[in-house]
């Protein structure tokens, strides 16, 4: 088990800079998820840690040892690829024991360790099969088995669940999480799926255009996004955002957007400041008509059983509202919306940064 640290790491492909000076630390045993839209540099960062890409400048250290010039095989890491990358001409057993075989470990040790990994991953019945004879989920498990047989310092996962169907993805998600809780190996996990990030991570690094937007625990990111990008990237359905101007009068504040007056309660921002106001779908409530509210027209009603999602037209914007239970509203109906007190987020319109309250 080990810590990992990135220090001013940069990466250029020719003249194109894809990683702009990234620094952060991963603690021993931590499950760190790198998340961001495609092209944000998360996979490149992982591949640099794996030793599959050169580091243009800065340093990457595993357990305090700078590994910039250390060969992949000497970094003591194991990687699970999106495409599984199983050796098609080897059985599951041979795939899992390949590393040990290259290290000239003795037969009995290889057998013991493969058997143990197979038991953890419930792969025992498949040990003598070839990858082509396995289902997607089983192949994924073999890829993980290959990683854990090695007992590495760090596990690297590069979008390991992207090729699985939705149901299997959820199942494998909990399996990976359970595996981590059992082995407690430092893990770096790359995904573009914010739900995977939220559900699995101890901490999340949100990346965008080769920069780190925010690092934090999943719920901290959710509750206090540092900027508009994180606010909109984390959470599903995404946060509602409305551009407008802050208005203050007689101790009350509101956002003026396209003639609609959004009550904001106690939030930062000076009178006349152009801002973006954000509110998560579950923090919008169907209001009784007394009190502060905005009026909107229901466009779509999507019941999912436990919750109901409403798409509502308010002025020029459309907002989503999620409410528990089954409200009796119909498309076309005019309803009143209220923002839960203290649950609004305000961002500077120019910089996209959160305004500190």
């Amino acid at each position: 088990m080990s810590s990992v640290s990135f220090h001013h790491v940069e990466k250029s492909f020719g003249a194109t800079k894809v990683i702009h000076g990234i620094s952060f630390d991963i603690a021993d045993g931590e499950f760190m998820v790198l998340v961001g839209p495609s092209g944000c540099g998360k996979s490149t960062l992982l591949r640099m840690l794996a030793g599959l890409e050169d580091i243009t400048s800065g340093t990457i250290a595993i357990d305090g040892r700078v590994v910039n010039d250390v060969d992949s095989k000497d970094r003591d890491i194991a990687m699970v690829f999106q495409s599984y990358a199983l050796y098609p001409h080897m059985s599951v057993r041979e795939n899992m024991g390949f590393r040990l075989r290259l290290r000239r470990a003795d037969r009995r040790e290889i057998d013991t360790r493969v058997a143990r990994a197979a038991q953890i991953l419930k792969l025992e019945p498949y040990l003598d099969r070839f990858p082509r004879e396995l289902s997607g989920g089983q192949r994924q498990r073999v890829a993980m088995g290959r990683a854990i047989v090695r007992d590495p310092k760090v596990f690297l996962f590069d979008e390991p669940l992207s090729n699985l169907d939705a149901k299997l993805r959820v199942q494998m998600r909990s399996e990976i999480k359970a595996l981590h809780q059992r082995l407690k190996t430092t893990t770096v996990y790359v995904t573009h799926d914010q739900i995977e990030a939220m559900t699995m991570a101890d901490r999340i690094v949100v990346m965008h255009d080769g920069r780190v937007e925010q690092i934090g625990r999943p719920l901290d990111l959710y509750d206090r996004p540092n900027n508009l990008f994180v606010a909109q990237f984390i959470g599903s359905p995404a946060m509602n955002v409305v551009s407008g101007t802050v208005r203050r009068h007689n101790g009350s504040a509101w956002l003026e957007a396209d003639g609609v007056r959004w009550p904001m309660g106690e939030v930062p921002g000076a009178e006349g400041q152009p801002v973006v106001f954000g509110v998560r779908p579950e923090h919008l409530d169907l209001a009784r008509t007394d009190g502060d509210h905005v009026a909107g027209d229901v466009i779509v009603v999507e019941p999912t059983g436990a919750e109901t999602e409403l798409l509502v037209q308010v002025g020029a914007s459309q907002v989503t509202l999620v409410t528990s239970g089954r409200p009796r509203v119909r498309p076309g109906e005019r309803i009143a919306l209220a923002v839960e007190p203290g649950m609004g987020h305000v961002f500077d319109r120019e910089s996209g940064q959160r305004l500190v309250d």
Binding site: A50, G51, L52, S72, K73, I77, A78, M79, F81, S83, Y84, A85, L86, Y87, P88, H89, F98, R99, L102, R103, F130, P131, R132, E133, L134, G136, R139, R146, R150, N163
Partner: protein, 279 residues
């Protein structure tokens, strides 16, 4: 259904003449080999007294032109196998270096390989003869082996490079992380996965050498050293060539390629990489 029948009829219309066109010379050769000298030119579709005597004569080397038949057969076989193996060694390592290790200058090598095909092999026969002479390799099997490897390699490199490019690159990365050196990657991952292409390319080089006449004729001259096609060519230097023996020896000469083709046919089908990566 009607449409299917029409299509089938069209196929047969093309297929039957092509089959006859291809098989007729072989049948002719077979006919000669089972006919006696007197009957060989009778023009009949089947001899009145078919005989296997010609095979006996060939196998027991009982004719002036056949004095070294088995020796020449062995020469052909040895040279063909050596050319197949050496070409594979050259082409597989080159393709691996260019396609998988992404060696600098790989593209140049590939373009040069392609360029060599603008020059007909016959053009190079005399320079090759001079070169072999300079190295005192004339009349040695090595001269023909090296010449044929030279001729077969560019195409083999080209084909194997294309096939290598289709192997998923993640396999190399996984192997690197697993701790494989380039040589281990080559031996334990690359070669097994390339097996079908290697068999195809090896067979190509082997048959190219087996069938070669011009270079064999130029580079080897002693009766004990020459290959079968050159020896068969000698038959025609006599005024009354023993055609029935020539055809019999020719038939024997044609059998190994057919055998090789059928033996390796099943390796030439793709699909070995199924299950490596999700496509």
């Amino acid at each position: 259904m009607m449409r299917g029948a029409v299509d089938e009829a069209k196929l047969l219309l093309i297929g039957i003449p092509v089959a006859i066109w291809t098989l007729l010379p072989i049948y002719h050769m077979f006919l000669f080999s089972i006919s006696s000298k007197e009957e060989a030119f009778s023009g009949k579709a089947w001899p009145d007294h078919p005989t296997l005597r010609n095979f006996g004569v060939v196998f027991r080397e009982q004719h002036y032109f056949l004095n070294h038949f088995w020796q020449q057969f062995a020469n052909s076989l040895l040279i063909a196998v050596a050319v197949g193996v050496l070409t594979l060694a050259v082409a597989a390592t080159a393709a691996f270096a260019i396609s998988r290790l992404r060696t600098r200058g790989g593209r140049v090598v590939l373009n040069c390989a392609l360029f060599t095909y603008f020059i007909p092999a016959a053009f190079l026969a005399v320079p090759m003869y001079k070169a072999m002479g300079a190295y005192s390799l004339l009349n040695s099997k090595w001269s023909l082996i090296l010449a044929m490897v030279t001729i077969a390699s560019p195409y083999a490199i080209w084909v194997l490079k294309q096939a290598s490019d289709r192997l998923p690159y993640e396999l190399d990365e996984a192997a690197r992380i697993d701790g494989a050196s380039p040589l281990q990657l080559f031996r334990l991952v690359y070669l097994p996965l390339m097996a079908p292409s290697l068999v195809a390319v090896g067979t190509y080089a082997l048959l190219l050498a087996w069938n070669e006449y011009l270079y064999a004729f130029l580079l080897l001259s002693r009766d004990q050293d020459i290959t079968l096609p050159v020896a068969l060519g000698h038959f025609l230097s006599a005024d009354d060539s023993p055609w029935e023996l020539l055809m019999t020896a020719g038939l024997v000469y044609a059998l190994p390629p057919a055998a090789i083709y059928y033996a390796f046919k099943r390796y030439m089908v793709a699909g070995l990489t199924t299950g490596a990566v999700k496509s």
